[in-house]
Symmetry: C2
Subunit: 421 residues, 2 copies
């Protein structure tokens, strides 16, 4: 058997991949912060909202004054002021008084409830709104606290809002903006070179000669690298020439934060990658071969802090190894707090039984469908097509992982699926 | 009751939103194509693979010659050539002959099977590989077709590979690259202006005066617009000034493909948006108010082909309306073939019963967890916090939609969840 058949278990491969250091940090504007990874946790510097706010358009009142407002005549109050959006009413709401108030405005002192405008009528004239100096009739009882958002009701001063290592989602920007954090300290995006190897590979704009095949993995990998939050640098195509490959790998590792090589990770006579990676600075090759399918012939090395991955050349194998192993490694390199390398809450039932060796972890290309005849459950059809095929990657909705330790799944067994996005 | 309480059903709102025309097209490079939307379907211009390829490193042989290779001496063949990656063997494999072949190389004429190198030994000397002029011993039977990928086995000439309106995923680039499509015709990214309105709104870098609140929605919306494949243009903050708001809206609509306004979509005295949108060119306001929670006070208008959405100002409401209504509209504007406005295969069980009015569609902020005590099922906890809160958006994993027509869900009822990404 060849050397790389000393396969390491998938979990061990993941541990080694996630044990990469993080890149450095930089400061970006709020506008640029989405998708970036927070360096430090965000604690609320003050309560949010900072004061009592009205949740409705209406009138700030004393709840005691309107305790009998459900009677036939309601309760008539004197409007002594108005709090439009963006301003405050500096006076005090006394007995029998009201202040008209906009949604989001600060509730004046003395008032302890807001009556929605829908439950009022002007006493002297028409129109929904009553200005200062006029009177308003309240027609419904509202208890103390009604339609008032209390200080700190949303977030309290000192609350941990966003953890370190969080990749910022659009909604997270609301917290940063609300607390005035317009310069955000985030991890740099790792710069990852992508390199295609193999004398049979020609650029996609060329018509392949007999025996040649167009490079597709470099483009797919670059898109995947960027989807993982890194910057992809196209390294080009290198033929099966050991010296040229070694020089190119050393240069790309030197110029970037990491390198992903496509092809050449197997052990044929022209598969030079493992040999070349053996020439990398310490610690060098960490493993060669993972007990998974597809994607077994994967090489992982480190040149100092910089990860170098030799990916299998087959499109499906490359896709699987990237999604399941390289993506979490790059996220980690980019500072993300990766605790789960296969984060999925999506469960589907396998549409037919599946068997495999116990030790191996398998990744099935699946197409999902909602089965009306099964109470709307989601079922997964495993797509045919070997690891050399691109059709199954295009047709699949995602990948189902069948962990090591399992040798058989019945029809209907639940599997966790990660969607291709 | 106020004017906007003529609520339209959510499904009707979606139909109107999806009835937007598409923006124009442009050509981008393969490197830029991921995330962009294909204008025309891609049909395979030729078979893939175009010829018979070896699936393994080994020897191309005639299967008849090795039909008894499982015997103690195996079967000895004369190696008459080699097909390294990227080249072809132009001769013919005759009786008793073999050609050494690399994975992915074209299988020579005359051969009908490939023997994996693991099941061979050199007859004359050591080492795994045997060069031309030497002999190889085959130790296992392989039938006709073994380890050969047939022409068209992956994709056949004329096959529909990718449909029009497909938003290209990383894996899709493999098809484009393999067929030499390096210039890709895609829809332009729509340019969408985002505008914050309200006299109470101050920029996030300022310390709010009493009664003021920092603008957060403009940043969240810009990030969401870009996650929907469009280009976001920050339009700034406009105070509650009808003339200024009208002029700004008309300018932004003129300069861009669409506009999303935050705040001012309710019916308070300072809520000017609906009035200003009434001044837009035909067809103007399409609806004002959707029967959903949160997000009811949403206005949708069209200025000719250009969509204008007045979003509710509360952060949670804005998030929900964007995800459920504006996102699919923008995807459609950008050419995507949107057939499902709430595409989710993720099902979770509600951790407590939920009731609501029958007609209304609700969106719950949920946090998901895998329950080991329930066979690994995924359960959804509904987060507290009103539509003014940002805490629930940050803590939630996503949104569960409870459709109209349902007034009660039991504890444990399945809901479809879309994750915040």
């Amino acid at each position: 058997m060849a050397d790389w058949l000393k396969l390491i278990p998938a979990d061990q491969a993941r541990s080694m991949l996630l044990d990469v250091p993080q890149v450095g940090v930089e400061t970006v504007t709020l506008r640029e912060a989405v998708g970036r990874v927070l360096v430090a946790p965000l604690f609320a510097p003050h309560d949010l909202p900072p004061a009592r706010l009205s949740a409705m358009d209406g009138y700030a009142v004393r709840s005691d004054d309107i305790a009998r407002a459900s009677g036939p005549d309601g309760e008539v109050l004197a409007v002594i002021g108005a709090v439009p959006a963006g301003s405050v009413f500096t006076g005090q709401v006394g007995g029998g008084q009201a202040v008209s108030i906009a949604t989001g405005a600060v509730v004046p002192d003395g008032a302890d409830a807001v009556v929605m405008v829908e439950f009022t009528t002007p006493v002297d004239g028409a129109g929904a709104y009553v200005g200062p100096g006029a009177r308003v009739r309240v027609k419904k009882v509202f208890p103390a606290g009604a339609n008032i958002v209390q200080p700190g009701e949303d977030l309290r001063a000192g609350d941990a809002i966003l953890p370190a290592g969080r990749r910022l989602r659009p909604g997270d920007l609301a917290a940063l903006a609300s607390f005035g954090i317009v310069d955000v300290t985030v991890f740099r995006r790792p710069r990852i070179a992508v390199l295609a190897t193999g004398s049979e590979i020609c650029p996609p704009h060329q018509t392949p000669l007999p025996g040649q095949v167009r490079d597709s993995n470099q483009y797919v990998l670059a898109a995947q690298v960027e989807a993982a939050g890194a910057i992809a640098i196209l390294g080009g195509i290198v033929a099966d020439d050991s010296d040229l490959l070694r020089a190119t790998v050393l240069r790309l590792v030197d110029e970037n934060d990491g390198l992903v090589l496509s092809g050449g990770s197997s052990v044929g006579p022209k598969d030079l990658t493992a040999g070349v990676l053996g020439a990398l600075p310490s610690p060098g090759v960490m493993f060669h071969g993972i007990d998974i399918r597809p994607g077994k012939p994967t090489v992982f090395a480190r040149a100092g802090n910089r990860p170098v991955v030799g990916m299998p050349g087959y499109p499906t194998s490359s896709m699987v190894v990237f999604e399941a192993f390289v993506r979490p490694m790059l996220e980690r390199l980019g500072g993300e707090n990766v605790t789960d390398t296969w984060p999925t809450m999506l469960r589907a039932r396998l549409s037919r039984a599946y068997g495999k060796p116990t030790s191996r972890e398998d990744f099935l290309r699946v197409r999902l469908s909602v089965r009306a005849d099964r109470d709307g459950e989601v079922w997964a059809d495993v797509l045919p097509g070997g690891s050399a095929a691109i059709s199954n990657v295009i047709l699949a909705d995602g990948l189902a992982r069948v962990p090591a330790g399992i040798d058989h799944l019945d029809e209907g067994a639940p599997v966790g699926v990660r969607l291709f996005l």
